[in-house]
Subunit: 224 residues, 2 copies
């Protein structure tokens, strides 16, 4: 059934990676996919815009069903293929509640991390302020410390003993943080988590190709 | 079973309102709840912080299961009470895909709207720029036009003929827009949608009390 699926994706994009990990976990290998280049503005090409009026990656289709939003696509895959591959949302209410809680807290982590990483990319030079950068970095530090606390209390995965949808959706964000220079010494629990999950088959199978070609990342987050 | 539930909420907060609409739709009236004041910083009180280390509203508990993230809480309620009240996530794959798609596009709408409404509240005076305000307003206009298009092609609800989780999660954001001065003339489809859904029993039952007391809103979005 993965033959009915089409994913347009960009290398290293956390939202794309989330769907790719979900596809692997649900044993949906063999889906059609096309690696596109943000630099060449492929995401604004007709083949993407026809499916996704926002002109963004990921762009994802299952048969005629379009779900370009990464959270939506992952929830859709879990719902449609519930009994196939890894069960990503547990049935036990207490466990399910924690998975839903962490999944969406991950959006705050992504937001705060993006505010730092993309600052100079998003904000025109004339509108930049050191005070904003400082505040954004402090907000990210506080956010990361919250996650350190979660992993100290329960682990090794984000919602406890099992790999769940919380990991599918948040691991790419955390990996992106380390790619951009986050310190494993300052955030040892997140570092351990990263080390554990990066060896997972679904993650190695979908590892961003340009990170393999160029293992050296950036240092944008080195003083966070 | 609603007796096992506790919601701390703030009047007019879209994330709180989302959970309240979901509770109504799932026939979970009678849940314990406490209206708190953002002005008095009740959301940083011990009773909230004990359940929600982020010190935010909504704060929500079902028995011992804590889900403070509004999207997470709504998905949890739908999952736990699937056959009770309104089915908010359809089973038919094509319909389900559209619901998941619109649910998460709603986060972009909320983000872009918040960037305009909260600008002076979030950004210190020394860091403000007219050019940022202009860009944020243009981004919101483009976003709203996208939703006008969606409602022109299919309606009357956000994912078509039925009221779904997309409406639970996005209506409070759209209502908030109109409360802050959005023009029903400029966005007629969204205006029709607003007029339709605001009469829905789940929505009237959970209408922000301070909007009832003071029906006059703001004009922050009047030129968007």
């Amino acid at each position: 059934m993965a033959q009915d699926m089409l994913l347009f994706w960009g290398s290293g994009s956390p939202p794309c990676w989330k769907i790719m990990i979900a596809l692997e976990e649900k044993n949906l290998q063999g889906y059609h996919n096309k690696l596109l280049s943000f630099e060449k503005k492929d995401h604004k090409s007709k083949e993407v815009m026809d499916i996704n009026p926002r002109g963004q990656l990921p762009t994802f289709k299952h048969g005629n069903n379009v779900i370009n939003e990464s959270y939506g696509a992952c929830l859709y895959l879990e719902s449609q293929f519930k009994s196939q591959g890894t069960q990503l949302i547990p049935d036990i209410p207490l466990e399910q509640a924690l998975v839903y809680q962490r999944m969406f807290e991950g959006q705050t982590l992504q937001q705060k991390q993006s505010d730092v990483i993309y600052y100079t990319w998003r904000v025109p030079e004339a509108e930049r302020h050191d005070s904003t950068v400082k505040r954004n970095k402090e907000a990210l530090t506080a956010e990361l410390q919250l996650w350190e606390g979660y992993l100290s209390k329960a682990g090794p995965y984000l919602a406890g003993k099992a790999f769940t949808m919380a990991d599918v959706l948040c691991f790419p964000v955390i990996a992106y943080g380390f790619r951009f220079g986050l310190s494993q010494e300052k955030y040892p629990k997140l570092g351990q988590y990263y080390t554990l999950v990066k060896e997972r088959p679904s993650v190695t199978a979908s590892w961003p190709p340009h990170w393999l070609e160029n293992p050296q990342g950036m240092d944008t987050l080195k003083d966070v």
